[in-house]
C-alpha cells in the first residue's frame, strides 16, 4: 500500500496540470470550435517569464501576475482578435493550421527574444520538492500539495461561474452560430474573447505549476504536456469539465503507476509512459460518441458571401502557356544547377528538397485532395525508412527495400485508417497524432525496427553495375521517383478517386448520398498517402545513409503539415515548391547563430497564419496574383491591337476573356471553409 501510494501521489501534480490545460482546451473548443494546440506554447511562455522574473529577484506574486494573469491571457486575446474570430464558421483544417503554426512560432519567437541559455524553473507557492508532511509513511511534497489545491479551487470556481453567469450557455450558442446568438442579444465577440482569455489563464497557470517538475524550462516538455491535456479533454468528450478533471488526474496517476510497476529498463516502461496519453486519446476518440458527431451547422451561414472557389487553372491560352513554360524553365534550371554547377553541400540540399517533396506529396493527396487531416505523416515516412534499413541489412537490394518500405507504410496507413473511419475532421488529426507519438516513443525504439537513438545505416542503391552512391547519381534517382510519384498523384487527382476525394472534402454526407463508399475511400486515401510517405522516408534514409528515431520525431509531422499548408496544399506543384523551399531555407538558416536556429520554422509558421485568408497557400496565392496581372496585361495588349484576330486569341476571348475571376468555373470542387 505504501509503495502504491508512493507511486500514486507524484502523479497528481501532473494530472492537475493536464486538467488545467484540458479545461482550457475544452473552453476554447466550446466557444470557438478551435482546437487550440498553441496552448502548449502559451504554457511555455508563462513558465519562462515566471522563471526569469523570479531569478531576477522579483517577488513571486509579481512574477505570477505578469506571467499568468497578464502575458498568457494577452496572447490568447490577441490570437482570438487577430485570427480565430475569423474562423468561427470555417472548416476544421482552417482552424487547425493557424493553431499549429502558433504552436511552432511562439517558442521560436520566445527563443529569439531570450536566447537559448538554459532556464531553471522556480516553484510558485511551496517548495516543489520539499516534504511538508507524511500521509501514513508516504511523503507529500510541496509540488503535490500546491498543484492539487490550486487546480481544484480554480476549476471548481470556474465551473461555478460558468453555470451561474450564463457564460457557458452563451459560449455554446456562439460556437454553433454567432449570428443566431447575436439575434438573441448576445455579444458574440465579447463572449468568445472572454473564453479565450479565461482558457489562456488556465494554460499559463498549468505552465507555471508544472515547470518545476522538469529539470529545465523547454518548449518540448510543454508540447508533451499538451498531448496529455488533449487526452484528458477527449475523456471529457470535449464537453464536461468534471470529467476532464477526473480523467486528467487519473491519467497522471496511471502514468506514474505504469512507470513504477512496469519492469524498469525496458522500452515498454520508458516508452509507454510518455506514449500512454496517446493510447488513451486514441481509445477515447474512438469510443466517445460526442466526438464523432459533426458540429451543428450555422443556420445563418448564408449571410456570409459564398466561399470563393479555389482559383481554377483555366487561364487565357497565352498566359497558361507562358506560365507552364516558366515553370519548366525554373525546374530545368534547378535540375541543371544541381547537377552541373553547384558544389557539394548545395547538391545535397536540392536532393533533400526533392526527397521532402515526395513526403509532402503524401499530404497533398490526403489533406489537399481528400480533406483528411493527418498529423502523423512523419511516422509513415519513418516506417518506410526503417523497413528499408532493416531489409538492406539483410542483403535485400536497396531499391527493392525502398519499394517494400513504401508497401509496409501503406499497410500501416490502412491500419490507422480503420479506427479513423468513424471519425471526422479534427478527430482524425488527433488520432494520427497519437499514432505518431506511439511510433516515436515505442514502435521505433526496438532493435528490430528503428533501433532507438542509435538508429540504422542504409546504403545508397546499386542496380547491376550502376551505382547511385555519388550524390549526383542519387539525385537523378530521387528525381525519377519524384516525377513518377507526382505524375501518379496527378493521375489520381484527375481520375475517379480524385473526384470522389474532392466530394469527400466538400461534404461527407453529400458524397455518401450520391453513392460514394466513404469507408473504402478513406482507407484508399490513407493507404496511398502512407505509401508515398514511406517511399519518401526510405529515400531520405538512403540519402542520409544513417537514420534514427529523431529523424522521424512526431514534431516533424506537425511541421510538415504547416509547411505544405502554408505553401499550397491543394496542388501537386505546391508539394514540390514546399519541399525545395524548405530544404533551401533550412540550408540558409543553418549558418545562423543558435538563437535564430528556429527562424525556418518561424517563417513557415507565420505563413500558416495567413491560411485563414488564403487557404490555397501563400505561394499558390502569389502565383494566382501574378497570373491575374499577366492576364490583364495580355487583354490590355490585345485591345491595343484590334487587328490581331488569330484563331487562338479569338478562342481565348470567347472562353475566358469575358468571365470575371470569381465567376470562373472551378474544376476541383468547392470546399467547406
Amino acid at each position: 500500500m505504501a509503495l502504491f501510494l508512493s507511486f500514486l501521489l507524484p502523479g497528481i501534480p501532473y494530472g492537475c496540470a493536464y486538467a488545467l490545460m484540458g479545461a482550457g482546451l475544452v473552453l476554447t473548443y466550446r466557444a470557438s470550435g478551435v482546437f487550440n494546440l498553441a496552448f502548449g506554447a502559451q504554457a511555455y511562455v508563462s513558465a519562462i517569464i515566471f522563471s526569469i522574473a523570479v531569478h531576477d529577484a522579483w517577488p513571486a506574486w509579481a512574477a505570477f501576475v505578469v506571467a499568468v494573469l497578464v502575458a498568457s491571457p494577452a496572447i490568447g486575446l490577441a490570437m482570438e482578435r487577430l485570427l480565430f474570430r475569423y474562423t468561427r464558421t470555417a472548416g476544421p483544417l482552417v482552424k487547425l493550421v493557424p493553431a499549429l503554426g502558433l504552436l511552432i512560432a511562439i517558442p521560436s519567437v520566445t527563443q529569439m527574444i531570450i536566447g537559448t541559455s538554459t532556464r531553471l524553473p522556480s516553484s510558485l507557492v511551496l517548495q516543489t520538492w520539499k516534504i511538508y508532511f507524511r500521509l501514513g509513511s508516504t511523503p507529500v511534497s510541496g509540488g503535490e500539495l500546491s498543484t492539487t489545491v490550486i487546480t481544484v479551487v480554480v476549476v471548481g470556481l470556474f465551473a461555478l461561474v460558468l453555470r451561474s453567469s450564463g457564460l457557458g450557455l452563451r459560449m455554446r450558442a456562439v460556437v454553433e452560430s454567432p449570428r443566431m446568438a447575436e439575434l438573441s442579444g448576445v455579444r458574440a465577440d465579447r463572449t468568445s474573447a472572454t473564453a479565450w482569455v479565461l482558457s489562456s489563464l488556465f494554460a499559463g497557470l498549468a505552465g507555471v505549476l508544472l515547470a518545476p517538475l522538469f529539470a529545465t524550462v523547454s518548449a518540448p516538455n510543454f508540447t508533451a504536456l499538451l498531448v496529455a491535456a488533449i487526452a484528458a479533454a477527449a475523456i471529457g468528450g470535449f464537453e464536461s469539465l468534471p470529467l476532464v478533471l477526473a480523467g486528467a488526474i487519473g491519467l497522471g496517476i496511471a502514468q506514474q503507476l505504469l512507470a513504477g510497476y512496469l519492469p524498469s529498463g525496458t522500452i515498454l516502461s520508458s516508452g509507454l509512459r510518455p506514449a500512454f496519453p496517446f493510447v488513451v486519446l486514441a481509445i477515447a476518440l474512438v469510443a466517445r460518441r460526442t466526438l464523432r458527431q459533426p458540429a451543428a451547422r450555422d443556420p445563418l451561414a448564408s449571410c456570409d458571401p459564398p466561399a470563393l472557389a479555389f482559383r481554377a487553372p483555366a487561364r487565357m491560352t497565352q498566359v497558361a502557356v507562358g506560365s507552364r513554360a516558366f515553370s519548366v524553365l525554373v525546374a530545368g534550371m534547378l535540375v541543371a544547377t544541381t547537377v552541373v554547377l553547384v558544389p557539394g553541400s548545395w547538391e545535397f540540399v536540392f536532393t533533400l528538397g526533392t526527397v521532402l517533396s515526395i513526403v509532402f506529396l503524401s499530404i497533398t493527396l490526403l489533406t489537399g485532395m481528400g480533406g483528411q487531416i493527418s498529423l502523423g505523416q512523419a511516422a509513415f515516412a519513418g516506417a518506410g525508412a526503417f523497413t528499408a534499413g532493416q531489409l538492406a541489412m539483410h542483403a535485400v537490394p536497396v531499391l527493392a527495400a525502398v519499394l517494400l518500405g513504401g508497401l509496409l507504410a501503406a499497410a500501416l496507413g490502412a491500419v490507422v485508417a480503420l479506427p479513423a473511419l468513424r471519425l471526422g475532421g479534427i478527430a482524425v488529426g488527433l488520432l494520427t497524432l497519437s499514432f505518431a507519438l506511439l511510433a516515436t516513443n515505442v514502435l521505433f525504439l526496438y532493435p528490430w525496427s528503428g533501433n532507438g537513438a542509435t538508429g540504422l545505416t542504409v546504403p545508397r542503391p546499386q542496380v547491376g553495375t550502376v551505382s547511385f552512391a555519388g550524390n549526383g547519381a542519387f539525385f537523378w534517382l530521387v528525381l525519377a521517383f519524384l516525377v513518377l510519384l507526382a505524375g501518379a498523384v496527378k493521375l489520381v487527382q484527375g481520375g475517379t478517386i480524385g473526384r470522389e476525394l474532392a466530394a469527400l472534402r466538400g461534404s461527407e454526407r453529400g458524397s455518401a448520398a450520391i453513392g460514394i463508399d466513404m469507408r473504402r475511400l478513406r482507407v484508399v486515401a490513407f493507404t496511398l498517402s502512407a505509401a508515398i510517405a514511406g517511399i519518401g522516408g526510405a529515400l531520405y534514409a538512403s540519402l542520409q545513409q544513417s537514420i534514427s528515431v529523431n529523424d522521424f520525431n512526431y514534431q516533424f509531422s506537425l511541421v510538415y503539415v504547416v509547411v505544405v499548408a502554408a505553401v499550397g496544399v491543394y496542388s501537386v506543384a505546391g508539394a514540390l515548391e514546399a519541399g525545395v523551399l524548405y530544404a533551401v531555407l533550412m540550408q540558409l538558416t543553418s549558418t545562423l547563430s543558435s538563437r535564430f536556429s528556429s527562424l525556418l520554422a518561424l517563417v513557415f509558421a507565420l505563413a500558416a497564419l495567413t491560411y485563414v485568408r488564403h487557404p490555397e497557400g501563400v505561394v499558390a496565392y502569389g502565383k494566382a496574383w501574378v497570373l491575374d496581372r499577366a492576364e490583364q496585361l495580355t487583354r490590355h495588349l490585345q485591345r491595343a491591337e484590334p487587328t490581331y484576330a488569330g484563331p487562338s486569341g479569338a478562342a481565348t476571348g470567347q472562353r475566358h476573356g469575358h468571365l470575371r475571376p470569381h465567376l470562373r468555373p472551378h474544376l476541383h470542387g468547392g470546399d467547406r471553409r
Partner: protein, 292 residues
C-alpha cells in the same frame, strides 16, 4: 396614403420615392423603421439596389416578391446580420446602419430568420433562456420563459429536448416563441410558415395578430401572400433587389397581380394551397405543406 409605384426598372425613380416618402412620414406620423436607399451584397454578388421604405409605428408591413428578389436580405439588413454597403437604416429616429446585430436586438428589433433558425445544440429551454437573459436580464427572464411555454404548450412538453431533435414545425414554433417571449418594438419574421401544416399556419398567423394587437410593429416576409396581405396595413413589392411598389395593400394589389400572378390573392378566396401548386404537378397532394 399615397402609393408610390415606381415600376420594375426603378433606377431613375428612386429620387421621387425619397421625396414622396418624406411627405408620407409626416402624414402617417413617425416611422418606426426607415430604410433609405439601402444597398447590400454578398461578396461580389449584389442583392439590394437602393431599397427605401418605411414601417410606421404600430403597423404591419408585408414584404412580397418572387424568389431571389431580396426579401430575406432586407430582413437581414434590418436586424444587422448583413451590413448595408450604402444607404442607411433608421429605428425611431436613430441611425442603426452600422450597429452590430446584438445591439439592434437590444434596441427592440426581433428577427426570426428563415429556415432552421434555432440553435440545434441547445435545449428548447436554453434557446429561450439565451434570448431572455441577454435582453431582459436574469431576474425577468423567468417570466418570459413562463409566457413562452404558456403560449406554446407543445414546447413546454419538450423543454429539455435538444432543439435540433424537434420536428421542422416545432422548430419554427420555437423560433417564433423566441421572438415572442421578449416584447419587441419591431418584429421581423421571414417565411415563418414555410413548410408548416395548414393548421399550424393558422396558429402562426393567430400569434402574429396577437403580437400586433399588443402594439408591436411587424415586417412580414411570407409565401402566403394572400393571408399576409389580409392582415397587413401596407405592402412593399421587391423585384430583383429594387422596390417596385410601396403603399397600402389596396394600392399595391394590381402590381402584385401583375408581378406574381400565381401568388396574387383571388378576390375573396381563401384556398391558398390551390393557388400555389404549379400546373406541372397535378399529382401534388392537397394541403402538402412544402408545395413551393
Amino acid at each position: 396614403m399615397s402609393a408610390v409605384v415606381t415600376g420594375i426598372d426603378a433606377g431613375p425613380g428612386i429620387d421621387a420615392t425619397a421625396v414622396a416618402q418624406g411627405a408620407r412620414s409626416l402624414a402617417d406620423g413617425r416611422p418606426l423603421l426607415e430604410l433609405r436607399r439601402v444597398e447590400a451584397s454578398y461578396g461580389p454578388y449584389r442583392a439590394l439596389f437602393g431599397v427605401s421604405f418605411t414601417v410606421p409605428e404600430g403597423s404591419v408591413v408585408a414584404l412580397v416578391g418572387s424568389n431571389g428578389a431580396g426579401k430575406s436580405t432586407v430582413a437581414r439588413v434590418v436586424s444587422g446580420l448583413v451590413r448595408a454597403k450604402a444607404g442607411s437604416v433608421w429605428l425611431a429616429g436613430s441611425e442603426i446602419t452600422r450597429w452590430p446585430a446584438w445591439r439592434i436586438a437590444r434596441a427592440g428589433i426581433a428577427h426570426a430568420p428563415e429556415g432552421r433558425s434555432v440553435l440545434a445544440s441547445l435545449t428548447v429551454e436554453e434557446n429561450l433562456e439565451l434570448a431572455a437573459r441577454a435582453l431582459l436580464g436574469r431576474r425577468r427572464s423567468k417570466g418570459a420563459l413562463d409566457r413562452a411555454f404558456g403560449a406554446f404548450g407543445r414546447l413546454a412538453e419538450r423543454r429539455h429536448q435538444l432543439a435540433g431533435t424537434l420536428s421542422g414545425g416545432e422548430q419554427r414554433m420555437l423560433s417564433l416563441a423566441k421572438v415572442l417571449a421578449v416584447p419587441a418594438r419591431l418584429l421581423v419574421v421571414d417565411e415563418l410558415s414555410l413548410g408548416l401544416a395548414p393548421a399550424v399556419v393558422d396558429e402562426v398567423f393567430g400569434a402574429l395578430r396577437a403580437v400586433r394587437d399588443a402594439g408591436t410593429s411587424l415586417l412580414v416576409v411570407e409565401q402566403h401572400v394572400d393571408r399576409v396581405l389580409a392582415m397587413a396595413d401596407r405592402a412593399v413589392v421587391l423585384v430583383r433587389g429594387r422596390v417596385a411598389a410601396e403603399g397600402s395593400v389596396a394600392e399595391v394589389l394590381p402590381v402584385v397581380a401583375r408581378l406574381l400572378p400565381q401568388r396574387a390573392p383571388v378576390a375573396g378566396a381563401a384556398s391558398s394551397s390551390a393557388q400555389h401548386r404549379s400546373p406541372q404537378q397535378p399529382g401534388g397532394r392537397p394541403g402538402r405543406p412544402d408545395a413551393e
